[in-house]
C-alpha cells in the first residue's frame, strides 16, 4: 500500500513514518508541507492509496489540502486520514466535509494507527 504522510512538524513526521513502517507498511513517503506533498503527488508513478494529513499547517491547511487532493484525478478513492492535536468538533466536521475518511487525535495511539492501516488495506484489496 502506497502511503503519504504530510505534517509540518519534522519529529512528528519521522515518528509517524517509523510507526507506519513498524506496522508493516514500508511504502511511505513523507512531506513537510502541502506544497511538498503536491510535488510528491505529481512525481509519484501511481496515486497514493492512503494519506495521513495534519490539519494545522502554515500556508495551506490540511483541510484545504484535503479538498484539493480530492479533485485530483485518481484520488477519489484514496483514504485520507486527518491528524490533529485539536479535538474541536468543528474541525472534525470541516474535515469530513472536505472529503476526509477518518480522523485521529494526537498524540496518537500506535495500536490505533496500526488498526486503521489494516482496515484501509483490507478495504483496498
Amino acid at each position: 500500500m502506497r502511503i503519504l504522510a504530510v505534517d509540518d512538524e519534522p519529529f512528528a513526521l519521522e515518528v509517524l513514518s517509523m510507526l507506519v513502517i513498524n506496522s508493516g507498511y514500508p511504502d511511505i513517503v513523507a512531506a513537510p508541507s502541502a506544497g511538498a506533498a503536491l510535488e510528491r503527488i505529481t512525481e509519484a508513478p501511481e496515486p497514493f492509496q492512503c494519506i495521513f494529513l495534519d490539519i494545522m499547517m502554515p500556508v495551506m491547511e490540511g483541510i484545504e489540502f484535503c479538498d484539493l487532493v480530492r479533485r485530483l484525478p485518481g484520488y477519489d478513492t484514496c483514504q485520507i486520514i486527518m491528524l490533529t492535536a485539536m479535538n474541536d468538533r468543528k474541525y472534525m466536521d470541516q474535515a469530513y466535509e472536505a472529503g476526509a475518511n477518518d480522523y485521529v487525535i494526537k498524540p496518537f495511539d500506535a495500536n490505533d494507527i496500526e488498526s486503521r492501516l489494516n482496515a484501509v488495506a483490507k478495504a483496498l484489496s
Partner: protein
C-alpha cells in the same frame, strides 16, 4: 322667662263705698259687652280665653273654640283642664311669680274635643278683681307644626353635626363685622383644648402653626375676605399641644355671607387632621423617588417598555450601552434594536411572560448599537400588571456582556492553542517511546527497560493532563455542548462497565451491577455519561481493597435516576471532603497507594453532571465503604 310690668287696674274694679254690686255688675257687663275691646276679643283670630277663679273657662273667643274644635258656646264653663290637661289653677298660678303679673309658657299640651293633642305656647296674665276673683287670661298659639319643624331641623342639625364630628371636621366661622370667631367642639378638639377652656382662639391657633406655613395657612382667609375666591384650601402644619410633634391640617375656607354692597362679612371654614394621609403620601413620594434615583443611577441598563416594545423610559446606562441619546432611544423600539436571529427566542419567552406562565426570564442575545456594531446583552425581563391584571408595563434590564464574551472566547482560544502546542511535541515523545518499546531487535537492559517504562507512563500522564485541562476549560466556560436526549440508562451503564474492565483487572477488583428496572430512562449525553462513569469507576477501582467487589446501583428517585458506585476501601479523610470536587485536589500522600491521575477527573465529572441537569455527591462514613453517586433528570432540564 317673664317680663315684669305693672298693670293699671281694669275698669270695673270695685271701689270701696259702692252700694249696688249687682247693678254695677250688670252695668259693667253691658258696658263690657259693648266695648271695642270686647269686640276685638271676640273677633280676633288669635285664641284668647279667660280662666276664672274656679278653674273653669270664663270667657273665650271663637278662635279658641276652633282651636279646640268645640261648637260655638260649648267651651265656656268647662274646666280648663279639659282642654289644657296640665293647666290646673294651681299650676297656672305657679307659672307667674310675683312681682311679675304675666308669663310666657313655651310649651303646654292642648287637647281637642276629639282627644287629639297639640303643642301650645301661651301668654298668661293674672289679675284679681272683687267680682270674679283671680283670673287668668291666656293668649294661645298652636306651635305643634313649628315644634315639629324645629324638631326636624334640630334632628337634621344633629345628624349633620354627628357626621361632621364623625368625619373629624372642625367647622368655624369668622364674622368680620363683629370680629368674632365661633368654633365648634371638634375645632377645639383638634387644637387639643378643653371644651370650656377660655382661650383666645386666634392667638392659640396662630401660635401653633408652623412658622414656614403661616403665610400659606392665612392666605385662604384673606382671599375669601377680599372676595377674590369663593372657596380656598390649604395644607399646613400645626404643633401638637405638648409641642412634640407636627400634625398636618387641611383647611377649606369659603365665603358665607356678603353684605348689600357685596363686601364679604362672614367666612366659614372646615378644618381636618390629615396627618395620616400626608404620611402615606410622603411615604409614597419617597418610594417613587427611591425608584427614580435607583433607575437613573443604575450601572445596569434599565428601560420601562410598553407591552409592544416601545420605550417609555430609559436610564443613562442603557443609553450608553446602545450608543443613543435618551431622545433618540425613546423614538425606537426593542424589535428594531434586536439582532434578527435572536428575535424569535426573545418573543417566545415574552409571550409566556404576558400569558402569566412565567414571572420573569433571562436571555443572552445580540443587539445593534447605534453605530451598527453588535452588542451581546444579558437581558432580564419582568412585567407589571394593571389593576385588572393585564400587561401594563415591562421592565427590561440589560448588562453589556460583549466584552465578557470576547474575553471568554480569547481564553478558550488560548487554551486550545496551548493544548495544541503541548500535544505536538508529546506526539513525538510518545511515538518514539512506543517504537522503542517495540524494538525487539535491540534488547534493552533491565534498567533501560525500566526507564523506558517510566518515560512512557509519564508521557501518558502528561497526555491525560492536557486532555483534562482542555475539557475542564471548555466545561467551565460552558463551551462544551451537551446533546441531551431521553434514553434508556441501563445500556449506558453496561457499556461503561465494559469499558472499565481493564481497570478492574489492573487493580484486582470486580464490578457488579444492580439494575432492578432495565427500562429506566433519563436525559443524558451518551458520550458525557460515559466520561462520568469512567471517572467514577476508575476511581472506585483505584481506591478499592484488592479482591473486593465494586457495586453499581441504579435507582428511580422520582424526578431523576440515581446511579451510585460503592467500593470497599479507605474512608476519605474528613479534611478532604470539601475539596474533593475542586480541580487538582488529591488526598494527602499519607495514603500508601500510588495515585495516578490528573486530579481534574472529579471536577470535570461534577461539571458534566451539573450541566446535564443532575447532582453529584458522595458518602464516606467510618467503616470504609465509599459511595459516589450522581443523578440524571427524567425531564429535559433546559
Amino acid at each position: 322667662m317673664s317680663s315684669t310690668r305693672t298693670h293699671p287696674p281694669l275698669r270695673g274694679t270695685a271701689r270701696a263705698g259702692q252700694t249696688d254690686a249687682s247693678v254695677n255688675r250688670a252695668e259693667t257687663g253691658r258696658a263690657m259687652e259693648k266695648s271695642p275691646i270686647i269686640d276685638a276679643f271676640k273677633r280676633m283670630q288669635v285664641p284668647l280665653m279667660i280662666v276664672g277663679a274656679d278653674g273653669r273657662i270664663l270667657e273665650c273667643n271663637q278662635a279658641t273654640e276652633h282651636l279646640f274644635a268645640y261648637p260655638h258656646g260649648q267651651l265656656v264653663g268647662r274646666a280648663t283642664r279639659e282642654i289644657l290637661p296640665d293647666a290646673s289653677l294651681e299650676w297656672l298660678q305657679a307659672q307667674i311669680v310675683p312681682p311679675a303679673i304675666d308669663t310666657v309658657i313655651k310649651g303646654m299640651t292642648g287637647r281637642t274635643r276629639d282627644g287629639d293633642t297639640m303643642l301650645l305656647a301661651a301668654n298668661v296674665t293674672a289679675w284679681t278683681d272683687s267680682e270674679r276673683g283671680l283670673q287668668h287670661a291666656l293668649v294661645l298659639r298652636d306651635i305643634t307644626l313649628d315644634a315639629s319643624a324645629e324638631k326636624l331641623a334640630r334632628n337634621q342639625m344633629k345628624r349633620t353635626n354627628d357626621a361632621i364630628i364623625g368625619a373629624g371636621i372642625a367647622v368655624f366661622e369668622y364674622n368680620r363685622v363683629t370680629d368674632t370667631i365661633i368654633v365648634c367642639d371638634q375645632w377645639r378638639a383638634i387644637l387639643e383644648l378643653e371644651q370650656s377652656e377660655p382661650v383666645d382662639m386666634r392667638n392659640e391657633w396662630r401660635g401653633r402653626v408652623h412658622p414656614d406655613d403661616l403665610e400659606t395657612a392665612l392666605a385662604p382667609m384673606y382671599r375669601c375676605l377680599a372676595g377674590e375666591a369663593g372657596r380656598v384650601s390649604c395644607d399646613y402644619r400645626l404643633l401638637s399641644r405638648d409641642g412634640l410633634r407636627w400634625r398636618w391640617i387641611r383647611s377649606d375656607i369659603s365665603i358665607a355671607e356678603r353684605d348689600a354692597s357685596g363686601t364679604v362679612i362672614r367666612i366659614n371654614g372646615a378644618m381636618s387632621d390629615i396627618t395620616d394621609r400626608k404620611s402615606v403620601e410622603t411615604a409614597l413620594r419617597r418610594s417613587v423617588e427611591r425608584f427614580r434615583s435607583t433607575f437613573e443611577g443604575a450601572a445596569i441598563g434599565m428601560a420601562i417598555v410598553t407591552p409592544d416594545g416601545r420605550f417609555l423610559e430609559v436610564n443613562p446606562a442603557i443609553c450608553a450601552a446602545f450608543g443613543y441619546s435618551e431622545e433618540d432611544l425613546l423614538k425606537t423600539d426593542f424589535q428594531t434594536l434586536t439582532h434578527p436571529e435572536d428575535l424569535a427566542s426573545d418573543l417566545a419567552q415574552f409571550e409566556r411572560l404576558k400569558a402569566g406562565e412565567i414571572s420573569c426570564y433571562q436571555l443572552e442575545k445580540r443587539y445593534f448599537r447605534s453605530n451598527g456594531a453588535i452588542m451581546w446583552g444579558l437581558l432580564a425581563v419582568t412585567m407589571i400588571r394593571d389593576d385588572e391584571n393585564r400587561p401594563d408595563q415591562v421592565i427590561k434590564q440589560i448588562i453589556d456582556v460583549t466584552e465578557r464574551r470576547r474575553l471568554s472566547e480569547l481564553k478558550s482560544e488560548f487554551v486550545s492553542t496551548v493544548s495544541h502546542e503541548l500535544r505536538t511535541p508529546l506526539t513525538s515523545i510518545l511515538g518514539s517511546l512506543t517504537l522503542l518499546s517495540s524494538m525487539d531487535a535491540e534488547p534493552f537492559s533491565d534498567e533501560a527497560q525500566r526507564l523506558l517504562y517510566i518515560a512512557e507512563q509519564n508521557g501518558e500522564r502528561l497526555h491525560a493532563l492536557i486532555n483534562d485541562v482542555l475539557d475542564f476549560e471548555k466545561f467551565s466556560a460552558q463551551q462544551m455542548r451537551v446533546h441531551l436526549f431521553s434514553q434508556p440508562i441501563v445500556p449506558l451503564i453496561d457499556e461503561a462497565v465494559m469499558a472499565s474492565l481493564s481497570y478492574a483487572d489492573k487493580f484486582g477488583v470486580r464490578f457488579v451491577v444492580h439494575t432492578p428496572d432495565r427500562a429506566l430512562r433519563a436525559y443524558a449525553d451518551p458520550k458525557r455519561f460515559q466520561q462520568v462513569m469512567a471517572n467514577l469507576l476508575s476511581n472506585a477501582a483505584k481506591f478499592a481493597t484488592e479482591g473486593s467487589v465494586i457495586e453499581i446501583v441504579t435507582e428511580d428517585i422520582g424526578s431523576a435516576i440515581r446511579v451510585s458506585v460503592t467500593n470497599d476501601g479507605q474512608t476519605i479523610p474528613k479534611a478532604f471532603h470539601d475539596d474533593l470536587f475542586k480541580p487538582f485536589a488529591q488526598a494527602a500522600p499519607s495514603s500508601t497507594r500510588r495515585r495516578s491521575g490528573t486530579g481534574l477527573g472529579l471536577s470535570i465529572t461534577k461539571q458534566i453532571v451539573e450541566q446535564t441537569g443532575g447532582e453529584i455527591g458522595f458518602d464516606s462514613p467510618e467503616g470504609g465503604q465509599t459511595t459516589f453517586w450522581f443523578t440524571a433528570p427524567k425531564n429535559n432540564p433546559h
